[in-house]
């Protein structure tokens, strides 16, 4: 039988039952590979449930550093009878299927184009452990040990990692190492090691780190000086505030008093959470909230208020698959329009699109500067894929000289010295006005914040002209905002071409890989990664330079493309869509396939008709 052969280049998928502690064992595996200097990209695929349902952990190992989803499984390691049929089906021909053969495999599942490897995990556990919980936990560690032998991993890396992971919990180190050894031993004794796929020490990760975007965001908020966090639990954004809290507990305790230099409130719902963030920002603290899915809809009324009353507001939206409750544990980039035009009436909201943990950290911290400088909500748009998976990333860094940009705030001294203050008076001509913090001055500088129309001195008015002037100033402000948000990043392919791709957020890795593989077929395209809305002029120029631009996004309705069309004055014939919305991160194969289909001229129907008649994404 053919068998896949490769070194440092494969996809392995673990199939487990959730609530059994498999995630940490699988993580041990991924991190060990990473420590061997090989780029990895693990993705946790978990159900919206706590215990007993199938869960998967897909790890891509790739020496060339492609970190997006590739599509296809080379090795499946399945310890979950519920999903075994599906797991074995997904293996590429020539691939490997590793399973717990304490119970024999159902013969109907057998595939003769796949290499089947049995390890009697349950049996080993039952022999070694009496406690049922231990049996369950160590089973996972044992298969990691076995994998080390099968893939020719450096066993010392694994044992060192265990030491690091249980630092402070010494008692746990030895039993875990023992379990690793059990698996390792078994494989070396009973199985053909290594298999065709294996790993070798490499040097491709440099000083990179392995970190999930939500933790990076929480750290970004911490470094950005956030003192108030108000939130309501929801997957996949919950861990943003949890990370913020974890680190705040370490570094934000006043050494003298033991008191906290931060406040975190679990609100009663998302309406309240964003209300709190707005109230705190209004009162001069840096505040944020984080949410996902339905939370975004619930926050829309307040987002409209913050836009119109110009209150700095930071919202981290970790997107998941919608609409409604949708697929709460799957990824998508489908809140683009809901956020860009959040709330009734004419609004335009600022969006940031990080694509790595490093950018989550940077943009996370920057959000507060932007919110206060621009006096408007800043919505940072990440997603489950980036937020909840360990992503390889540049290390985090902070310039210790950096000062927070607190924006335009008038002080008591300035008021005292007779500065004219009108809350909505465009003094500097950039359409951004000065504010005062409550409590600034006994008799000067007070104003009334409201969601109703008002004049430049914040006095209530129903005069159409005053309302209109204010709305037009907000439009002018949009141009100022444009100058402050992070610019796009362009990759020139170095050849003459009139075709390009444009993407944002987590489509980056797969897009880059797809471009490389298209280049290998002599299809050359320039690329731009957009990092913010409003779109910088560069975006417009980039699109204008090309005859066709593929907009890659992870939603059904090409929402980002709609935004590009609404903001610029060129025809949609230029903008073609590459979409994936089945809840999995878009893969390089999928992008390549869709682009080639377009280039072959398959795409002449109007967009929505077309999508309806073909399947846009691939689920594999």
């Amino acid at each position: 039988m053919s068998r896949l052969e490769s070194v440092n280049d494969f996809v392995i998928k673990f199939a487990n039952v959730n609530g059994t502690g498999s995630a940490s064992a699988n993580n041990l595996f991924a991190k060990a590979i990473f420590r061997m200097g090989i780029p990895v990209s693990p993705k946790n695929i978990f159900p919206s449930n706590i215990q007993g349902l199938p869960t998967w952990y897909e790890v891509r190992i790739n020496d060339r550093g492609y970190l997006g989803r590739r599509g296809g499984i080379d090795i499946a390691l399945s310890v979950n009878p519920q999903s075994m049929a599906q797991d074995i089906r997904e293996v590429e021909p020539g691939g490997y299927f590793i399973y717990d053969n304490t119970k024999p495999l159902d013969l109907r599942l057998l595939r003769d184009d796949v290499n089947i490897i049995g390890i009697p995990l349950t049996q080993i556990c039952n022999e070694q452990y009496d406690d049922p919980r231990q049996r369950q936990l160590f089973k996972n560690v044992i298969y990691v040990g076995a994998l080390a032998a099968l893939l020719d991993m450096d066993f010392k890396v694994l044992t060192a990692l265990v030491g690091d992971q249980f630092k402070g919990k010494k008692k746990l180190v030895l039993p875990n190492i023992h379990a690793l050894e059990l698996g390792h031993q078994y494989a070396r004794t009973h199985l053909d090691c290594p298999i065709g796929i294996r790993v070798e020490q490499s040097d491709k990760v440099g000083d990179k780190i392995l970190l999930d975007g939500n933790t990076a965001l929480g750290l970004g908020a911490l470094y950005g000086g956030a003192t108030v966090a108000a939130w309501y639990p929801i997957t996949p954004s919950t861990s943003v505030v949890e990370a913020f809290e974890k680190y705040a507990k370490r570094v934000r305790i006043d050494p003298g008093t033991g008191q906290r230099n931060y406040a975190i409130v679990q609100a009663e719902d998302e309406l309240s959470a964003i209300g709190m963030a707005i109230g705190a920002s209004w009162n001069g603290a840096r505040a944020f909230t984080a949410t996902s899915g339905p939370g975004v809809s619930l926050m829309s009324e307040f987002l409209g208020l913050a836009y119109f009353a110009e209150i700095p507001t930071v919202l981290f939206n970790v997107q998941r698959a919608g609409p409604s409750t949708g697929m709460p544990t799957r990824t998508q980039q489908s809140d683009i329009l809901a956020c860009a035009y959040a709330s009734h009436g004419d609004t335009k909201q600022v969006l940031l699109f990080p694509s790595t943990p490093k950018e989550c950290f940077d943009f996370g911290a920057m959000s507060f500067d932007l919110a206060e400088r621009l006096q408007t909500p800043i919505i940072l748009m990440t997603d489950l894929d980036l937020g909840m998976n360990d992503n390889m990333s540049e290390p985090l860094a902070w310039d210790d000289e950096r000062k927070y940009d607190r924006g335009k705030v008038i002080t008591a001294e300035q008021l005292e010295s007779g500065v004219e203050f009108g809350r909505y008076l465009d003094v500097d001509g950039d359409a951004i006005c000065y504010r005062t913090y409550p409590g600034t001055h006994p008799t000067k500088g007070a104003f009334f914040t409201r969601g109703t129309s008002r004049d430049e001195y914040a006095v209530y008015t129903e005069k159409g002209e005053a309302y209109e002037a204010n709305m037009l100033r907000l439009l002018r402000k949009w141009d100022t905002i444009n100058e402050h948000v992070p610019p796009p990043i362009t990759h020139d392919c170095g050849r003459e071409t009139d075709t390009a791709v444009l993407f944002f957020g987590t489509s980056e890795e797969s897009s880059r890989e797809a471009l490389d593989s298209l280049a290998a077929e002599n299809i050359f395209m320039n690329a731009m990664r957009v990092r913010a809305f409003p779109f910088n002029d560069e975006v417009q120029k980039f699109i204008e330079r090309h005859k066709q631009v593929f907009v890659i996004e992870q939603n059904r309705d090409a929402q980002f493309r709609t935004l590009l069309m609404a903001e610029f004055e060129f025809g949609p014939d230029i903008l073609k869509s590459v979409l994936c919305f089945d809840g999995t991160p878009i893969s390089a194969r999928n992008i390549r396939k869709q682009i080639k289909k377009h280039l072959n001229g398959d795409n002449v129907l109007p967009l929505h008709r077309k999508i309806a008649s073909i399947r846009a994404g691939e689920s594999q």
Binding site: G225, T227, D400, T440
Partner: protein
């Protein structure tokens, strides 16, 4: 800045300790209907703040949407104000209070704003014992949208144009007690002598202080079939007692009769004196407060005055153990752990 009401300052007007006249605590001219109860409450707030010599800019006044929620524009013109969205004032106050624990938060709301759309936020602000004064201008109807029944309308009560209300009424005092509020009082817009000291006590209290003020809507709900009309309330209210507020450092001059009179020292050092009328109520015992309230509900009387106060109240900041320095005054040095820690974090992630 935003208040351009020309103020004629009579030279002989009484000054408070800070040297301010009452006019310094006033706001823009009211646009509410002539005779609206809400304006009287605004007046009581002005008087309480003036008499307590609170620096006007150390007050933040916040509200939702409604005639009642417009009121903050009409008092405390030197304080920052915030008209939030309908029913969501409590969350905005929560955030504001977290940001700066040193201001006094004066929340104003309506019965629609609080008991309907705002029920959740109201309940949870009370539960968290947020340090604020929460005044409901309760007229049993939706004034600004022209007189629909609100959730505090009594069963059988009818507004000017409406049918008798068919639903059971929500008692905001009872609700606040259930939720864990630490100061609960009820009053009547027409009774300034009771209302002003209650507001003062609420201000001095550290924690969530609700004053549910029955405040007739003259335009839509002051008719004979209404149980929130001036006449009905005058006839059916029963006070728990009278209350006297004695500011910090003031010597107690009046003679207080022992037995029915209680002196209570507030967190800020001021004190209140209570003269009880209703012997069954012990306003420092939640059980007593809850059952007395329910008893009055049963008999159809409106219990006014201080209904409950928790003398050991610990507010949100205290239970959260947040820094004494307001969070909005912390800077980079306090907040940013610096690059060194990142180096450690990075190392742990390899």
């Amino acid at each position: 800045m935003s208040y351009q009401v020309p103020k004629f300052r009579h030279p002989g007007l009484p000054l408070n300790e800070l040297g301010y006249t009452k006019a310094d605590y006033e706001g823009a001219i009211s646009t509410l209907c002539a005779g609206c109860g809400h304006d009287s409450i605004s007046g009581a707030i002005v008087r309480a703040c003036h008499e307590m010599s609170i620096e006007p800019h150390k007050i933040a006044k916040l509200s939702g949407i409604g005639c009642s929620s417009k009121a903050p524009t009409y008092f405390l013109g030197n304080s920052h104000g915030f008209n939030a969205v309908h029913g969501r004032m409590p969350s905005v106050v929560t955030g504001a209070a977290l940001a700066n624990r040193e201001l006094l938060y004066m929340g104003v709301s309506g019965d629609g704003d609080t008991a309907s759309i705002g029920m959740g936020q109201f309940a949870h602000a009370a539960r968290r014992n947020l340090n604020m004064v929460y005044i409901v201008m309760n007229n049993g109807c939706y004034g600004l949208t022209k007189g629909q029944d609100s959730a505090t309308a009594d069963r059988g009560s009818a507004t000017k144009k409406g049918d008798p209300n068919i639903y059971s009424a929500i008692d905001l005092c009872g609700t606040a007690l259930q939720m864990g509020a630490t100061f609960v009082a009820r009053s009547f817009s027409g009774d300034k002598e009771q209302l002003v000291p209650l507001i003062k006590a609420a201000i001095s209290h550290r924690g969530f202080a609700l004053i549910d003020v029955v405040s007739p809507c003259v335009t839509f709900n002051n008719n004979p079939q209404s149980t929130k009309s001036y006449e009905f309330v005058r006839e059916h209210s029963e006070a728990t007692g009278t209350i006297d507020f004695v500011p910090l450092k003031k010597e107690i001059t009046a003679e207080y009769q022992a037995g029915q009179s209680y002196e209570v020292t507030m967190h800020d050092g001021s004190s209140i004196h209570l003269y009880k009328v209703d012997e069954t109520l012990d306003p420092f015992d939640r059980r007593s407060a809850i059952s007395t309230l329910e008893e009055h509900r049963y008999t159809g009387n409106i219990l006014t005055g201080l209904i409950y106060m928790n003398k050991d109240s610990r507010d949100l900041h205290e239970v959260m153990d947040t820094s004494q320095r307001p969070l909005n005054q912390l800077d980079e040095a306090d907040l940013c752990p610096g690059n060194k820690m990142l180096l450690n974090i990075n190392a742990s992630l390899r």
